[in-house]
Every structure is written in C-alpha cells, then in structure tokens.
C-alpha cells in the first residue's frame, strides 16, 4: 500500500512536469516571436528613417546645384548686359548715338574682355565651391534626419582627398595650381581644403563627416578591365552574384552559355584609373558645365531663341522686367538694348557691300583713328577724313558695312555653357524612344520645358541596424554547425506526399535561406537611394517654354529642387554599397593575378585581412566558386533547356519572361532593369 502510494506520488510528480515543459517551450517560442517583431520593427523604422534622410540629402544637394547654376547664370547675364551697355553709350538726348566717335575703340574691347575673364573666374569658383557646399549641407541634412557618419564613406573620401592633395594627382589635375583655362583661379588648394573641412578630417583623427554617399565623377575613380568577355560583361554586375547564389537560372541565361574554357575564364582583371579629362569643376555633385571663348555664337543663340528678350511682351523675360506687380514695366520694344545693337564690327567693304579681306582671309576693320564715317541709310557707309590744311572733306573710296558702326565685343567674351554630355533634352514625347523609357514609367508626360537630362543630386546610404536576431550566427556556431548545416535543414521533415508537408518544407527552405543571409551579414543591410534634380525652364513667346539646355548659355532659370524616380537618371557607376565597391577595388584585381579561385581566400587574408576577415566578400566569393564549377553551370543549362510542354515544346527558359495575359494587370513596363 505504501509502495503504491509512493509510486502514485512519483507518477503525479512526472505528470506535473509535462505542463511545465510545454509552458517553457511556449515561452521560448513567444520570446522568439517577440524578438522577431522587435527586429522587424527596427528594420522598417530604419528603412523609413534612412529613406527620409537620403531624400533630405539629395534635395539639399540639388538645392545647392540650383543655387550654383543660377549664380553662374546671373554672371552670364551680367556679361551680356555689360557688353551691350559698354557698346551702346547714350547721348544727352537719351538716344543711342550713331556717331562712332562716341563708341569704344578697340582698346575698350580688350578691357571688356578682361572684365569678362574676371567674371568667368567667379563662375569657375562657383563651379567648384557651390556643389561642395551642397555636399557638406547634404551630410548635415542626413545627420539631422538620424543617419550617423559611415566610416567607409569617410575613408573613401579621405583617400580621394589624399590623391587630390598629393603630387600623385598631378597626372590628372595638372601640377600648376593656376590653369589658364580657369581664368587664373588657383582652384586646387582651396578645393582640397574645403573637402578636408567637410570630412572633419585631421591627421590625428579619422574623418567623421560623411553620412551619405553622393554622385561624383572623380578622375581617380578605379575602373576594371580584362581580356575576358565574361569579366567585362558580367563580373561588374552586382545582381549576377545574387542570381548565382540563388540558383536563379533565368538571370543567368547568357552567362551560363559563355565559353568558360579550361581555366582562368575571368582573364587578367586589372584596375585602371579613370583617364577622362578633368572637368574643371567640382567632382562631387558635378554641374556639367563648360567654359567657352566662342562668344558671339553663344550669345546669338540665346538671343535668337527668345530667352534673353522675347519678341512680345506677353511673358516674362530674363533681361527685361515685366513684373508689373513689383512696379516695373517692360520696356517698349524700341527701347530694348538689343534692338539698337548689332554684333558685327565695322568692316571694310566695297561700294556694293561686299566685305574686303586681308591676305589671311580675315575681315579688315576700319581705322577709327584715321577716318570718320558718313552714315547712310543703305547700311553701306562712306569713310572720310578732313584735310587739316584745306579743311575739305576727302573720300578715299573706302566703305564700311555695319548697322551701328560699333566694335562688337562678343567674340572676346567667354560664356559658361552646358556640357551636352550632361545636359540634353529628352526625346520628343511622341517618339517611340520616349514611350519605351520615361513614358512607360511615369503617370503623365513632363510639363513643357522640364524634359531634359542635366545635373542631378544622387544620395545613397547603407544602414546596418543592430538586431537581436543577428546573434543567430552565434547560436549556429555553438551548435557545432559546419558551413553546410542549417536549422532549416533540420525542419525540412514535411515530405513531398502531401500539400501540408510541402508547405512545411517550403517554410524550412526559407528559414535556411534566411539563416544563410544572416551568416553572411547581408540580411540587415538597408540600402536606400534618392535622386533630386533642379528644375527650371525658360519662358518665351506665346506662353511657351524652352528647356534650360536648349539655350546653350547657362541662364538663371532654375526654380526648385525636386525628388524624381531614382531609376530614371541614376548615375550608372553610383553605389552606396561600400562592400561591393571594395570587392571591385580589392578582390577582382587580385583574382586577375591567380589561375585558381580557390587560391583567393589565402591571398585575400594576406592582402586585405580587415575586409576579408570581416566577411565583406564571402557572398561574392561563394558565387564565383559556384560559377567556377562546370557541373553547376551544366545544371543550370539543363534546367533552362528542359521541355515542360511537349505539345508546344516550351522550355523552362520560355517561362522566364512569361507574363500571363489572364493574370491581373498587364505587362506595361519596359524590360530594362531598375
């Protein structure tokens, strides 16, 4: 009896523990779920915060691009005004004189040219300093919106700073601090000093000034070249590595069918320096400008387009003020300066108006010191002088042709113009080209005058939120896992016989995939972009508008910076992913020196231990190891060529771009990657 009683107590004791075990299990599961929710919330909050921060940075950068362009445009206008006013002295009666003796002589024109050069120097200064101010302000905007500085961005900019400020950079920037083309502006020292200040850089400390990466066109930017087409066409594409790791054959159709040969299919990959000529403006947030001496053509084009003065008074113009609400009246047409001015020098001609030329086939200008001009209504004017002995008027039989008989200074004036490599109008909205690009993506067409490519401000950042679930990696390692063991594998017990079992296996497979992403540290990286652009347009006659770049001369017409879709104008080589940039800069050139990809771990550990040991390149290295495996490539080709419908002979490859017509929505976007 006593024995039974003890046994009963013992059994009850065991039974009580059953509930406890279940409760503990439940608590563990609930705790894991709470951790997951906490991390998810952290990631989503981080994404929204990072997006807001890069939006602010891009907008501020574009704002300063706009300010710089407008200031440069104003200086162009000052040149135009100065030129015309200098050449058009007023008489006491308020009319413009037709007597050439009142006008400037050739020496005055030279002085005007020098004045123009000084204004050009100011424009060059703005071209360097304006965007840099924007870059600095963008960093501050990003920080104000919650982003911290990023070591890697700072180091990258510091390296560029070192290159810029050392003799090594002379190859591209020129050893002479004063470049004649820059109108005497010694740009290099103040420019590097500004970058140094933005970085908050000193010899003792690491720089801490850069929170977002922004578009630039550094001449020292490393590029890759190889004698292998596979390297040139594929290895510089980040998405290829993702596709390889995911066995996503559809994105690898071209690569898998390349001729890989027996060994070293990647060729001799080398790091080359960008040898594009220096643009003589800030390489960060570049404005895309040029400085030209061919003055008259630039001015005439702007004049003829109606941008400077319109042919009617129904719209605003740049060089006359029609803003009656501010108390100004648009001048009468006859009072506009350009109507009383022509841009031709008084040249000698014959009595029929045909110009005379010297031995070098140049126009012959008339000698203002020796002759006076008798103005006629025909425009062909007689030259004369007064004989001092007799006081008689003498006609030597020489004629000039000119409307105003003043020296035209325009060919001596330099203008800041748009570089057509950066600035050009979009194709016409009715063209197929338009419909295949912007027209497919956007809700509506651009307003008139806003259809142009130009200077943009692109900001990007990578944020790595601190997540509790990132400790997963440690749990894995404590369970004595090897590289190929995953918790997801252990949960793949569903079998394929039932739909429920298949679902379990799918979830297990996703868990395994997430584990792999956690191990290589990429799952929590938040990569965000933003693109902003300064918009402006030129009002001309009849309420119509021109794009700023349709008039080559930079004019102060930019109104506001706005966010636009990143995918449409993002600079092609721009990436905020410093790990990817380091992979291209450090790993791939080293790969070009070896004949076996398996040699890379030891070589990288020796050459770039910091980045290699931190796992920066494991994702890409694993992909290359996979790609190097001929049987893996064949597996992909086999899948692509497998016939899945005997009747239609449809293969798996045919399904890659399949867009079911019966499905909701239609395939409207073009097949170009974002």
């Amino acid at each position: 009896m006593k024995m039974k009683s003890n046994a009963s107590k013992k059994r009850r004791k065991y039974q009580g523990g059953q509930t406890l075990i279940l409760a503990v299990l439940a608590v563990i599961i609930i705790a894991a779920a709470i951790v997951f929710l906490f991390d998810l919330q952290n990631i989503i909050r981080g994404k929204i915060k990072a997006q807001t921060a890069v939006d602010a940075a891009a907008l501020v950068g574009a704002k300063w691009q706009m300010n710089s362009l407008n200031m440069i445009g104003e200086l162009n206008i000052i040149k135009a005004c100065t030129t015309i006013i200098t050449d058009m002295p007023e008489t006491a009666s308020g009319k413009y004189s037709s007597n050439p003796l009142w006008g400037p002589n050739n020496n005055d024109v030279s002085c005007l040219s020098e004045a123009s050069s000084l204004l050009s120097q100011m424009q060059v200064r703005i071209g360097f300093t304006g965007p840099l101010i924007g870059f600095g302000a963008a960093q501050q905007a990003a920080k104000n919106n919650g982003l911290n500085y990023v070591d890697e961005y700072c180091v990258e900019l510091a390296q560029k700073y070192e290159y810029l400020s050392s003799e090594e950079g002379d190859v591209y920037y020129g050893s002479d601090v004063t470049i004649p083309a820059l109108y005497g502006y010694s740009w290099r020292e103040p420019y590097t000093e500004m970058i140094r200040n933005i970085m908050q850089y000193s010899d003792l400390d690491m720089p801490t000034g850069v929170a977002v990466n922004m578009n630039s066109c550094w001449v020292s930017e490393p590029l890759l070249s190889s004698d292998s087409n596979i390297s040139n066409n594929y290895l510089s594409m980040k998405s290829i590595y993702t596709a390889i790791n995911a066995n996503y054959w559809c994105a690898l159709t071209g690569l898998l069918r390349e001729d890989f040969g027996d060994s070293k299919w990647w060729g001799n990959i080398e790091l080359v320096m960008n040898s594009n000529s220096f643009r003589y403006e800030s390489e960060l947030l570049p404005l895309g400008l040029k400085y030209t001496f061919s003055g008259s053509g630039i001015y005439n084009q702007a004049l003829d387009s109606g941008a400077l003065y319109g042919p009617d008074d129904a719209n605003e113009k740049i060089m006359d003020n029609s803003n009656t609400s501010s108390g100004y009246e648009r001048p009468k047409e006859s009072d506009l300066l350009h109507n009383n001015y022509d841009n031709e020098d008084p040249y000698l001609c014959d009595e029929n108006g045909e110009y005379l030329y010297d031995a070098d086939n140049n126009h012959i200008v008339y000698d203002a010191a020796s002759y006076d001009i008798e103005i006629t209504e025909t425009g062909i004017n007689k030259l004369y002088f007064i004989n001092p002995a007799t006081g008689n008027v003498v006609y030597p039989g020489l004629y000039t042709k000119d409307t105003d008989e003043y020296w035209a200074p325009l060919p001596r004036i330099s203008w800041t113009v748009y570089d057509t490599e950066f600035w050009n109008p979009y194709s016409d909205a009715d063209s197929d080209d338009w419909k295949d690009t912007w027209g497919k993506y956007l809700r509506k067409d651009f307003k008139e005058g806003y259809r142009y490519y130009g200077a943009v401000s692109c900001a990007g950042a990578i944020v790595q939120p601190k997540l509790i679930s990132s400790k997963w990696n440690r749990l894995d390692s404590k369970s004595q896992d090897t590289e190929n063991d995953y918790i997801g594998d252990a949960l793949e017990f569903g079998g394929q016989s039932s739909s429920g079992g298949q679902s379990i296996n799918q979830y297990a497979s996703r868990l395994k995939s997430s584990e792999a992403a956690m191990r290589n540290g990429t799952i929590s990286d938040i990569e965000v972009f933003s693109l902003a652009k300064s918009y402006g347009r030129i009002p001309v006659a009849n309420g119509e508008y021109l794009t700023p770049c349709s008039v080559l001369m930079v004019l102060p017409v930019f109104e506001r910076p706005l966010i636009i879709p990143v995918e449409l104008e993002k600079p092609s080589d721009f990436t905020p992913d410093f790990k990817w940039a380091a992979f291209k800069r450090e790993y791939l050139p080293l790969l070009g020196t070896v004949s076996n990809v398996d040699d890379m771990p030891a070589l990288m550990a020796e050459s770039y231990p910091e980045h290699w040991n931190a796992g920066w390149f494991s994702f890409y290295h694993n992909a290359l190891v996979k790609l190097n495996n001929a049987s893996w490539r064949q597996q992909g080709i086999d899948w692509l060529e497998t016939v899945i419908d005997e009747d239609t002979e449809k293969t798996n490859e045919d399904t890659c771009n399949y867009w079911p017509s019966s499905g909701p929505g239609t395939r409207q976007a073009p097949s170009i990657p974002f």
């Binding site: 009683s5 009963s8 059994r11 039974q15 009580g16 059953q18 509930t19 279940l22 409760a23 439940a26 609930i30 709470i34 929710l37 998810l40 919330q41 989503i44 994404k47 929204i48 998405s239 993702t242 596709a243 995911a246 066995n247 996503y248 559809c250 994105a251 993506y441 809700r443 509506k444 067409d445 307003k447 394929q496 298949q502 799918q506 497979s509 996703r510 995939s513 997430s514 799952i523 918009y535 506001r560 706005l562 636009i564 879709p565 798996n652 399904t655 890659c656 771009n657 867009w659 499905g663 909701p664 929505g665 239609t666 395939r667 409207q668 976007a669 097949s671 170009i672 990657p673 974002f674």
Partner: protein
Amino acid sequence: MRKSYRECGQTILESTLSMLLLCLILMGLLQLFHLYVAQMLTDFSAFYTARSRSVGFADYIVERAGKALVVAASGPRSYPEENTSDEGVSSSSTSADEMMLHEYLSGERWLEYQYWSGQNEYGSEWSSRAEVSNTYFTQESSSLNNGLVESTVFFTNYPFPIFDLMDPDRVWFEGTGENTLINATSEVADYSIFYLEE
C-alpha cells in the same frame, strides 16, 4: 485507493486541459504576432506607395511597389509556384525572391502571391489607393503649390484562423476571421505635381 485513482485521473485531465489552453494561447499569440507583422509591413507599404506616387510613377508601378513591400506577409507565392528544390525560378529563397521582385517591378516577369488576389481560402486581397490630396496644404507647400500624396493600403480578409476554432461561423467578433482588415495610410509631399502634367 479509490481516492488515489481519482487523483490520478484528475491530474491527467488537468494536464490535458492545461496543455490545450496553453496551446490555444500559444497559437493565438503567434497569430496575433502574424497579424502584427502584416500590419507593420502594410504601414511600410503605405509609405512607399505614397512615395512612388509622389515622384510620378504610373499607377501600375505604384501598385507593384506597394505589393513588393508586403511580400513577407502575403502568404505563399502562387506564381511561379514555390518548390523546395534549389533549381530554377521556383526556388524558395530570399535571394530568388529578391531577384524576382526586381524583375516584377521592372516589368520583366509576373508574380502572384496568395493573399494579393483572393487565392487563399479566405479570399484575402490586397489593394491600394494613392491620390493627391488637395485639402492638406502646409504653409510652405501651399506657397509652392505643392500638395500631398495620400495613400491607403489594405488587406481585406486577412487570414486569422484562430477565430475559426472559437467561432466557426465567425460571428463573435466583427472585423476578424473572414473580415480581418489590415490597413494603413501615409502622406508625403507630392513632388511630381511640379514637373508632370496635370
């Protein structure tokens, strides 16, 4: 002896009931977490839907952008169908999803998840609406003639099967079970109003 026998049965009964209750609570909590995940992703989707619209994307791209961000709360992929092999387009991995979403956004492929268009037993559906609100102007934005984009994103009939156990007819709790609605709204400045035609 009889008393001891009764006690033994009592313990089994208590344990069973406790376990059932615990299981119910556990499952319920997990489904609440599931709903909360869906809510958070829907909030995020609302933000990006509004942002996509604010920079001028066409409606179908705005819709795809919104859908792409709720993939994690959209149930199994129905097209292309998932399988557990490591081959091809149907592989179940985050990287493959990432690639496919990338292509979906650029219009290179079609994707379909069960909760997007009522393909599960509850008929869950995702929809969004992004429109310019002319009634909300800040002092600064009104001077720029720059409005706001307001987006509303919602799942209707989001799965919440724990209530099936408690109420097969789903009449106890309005707004649950078949009627579970998850929605979110967001507002951002409308940039495209300046550079795109009305």
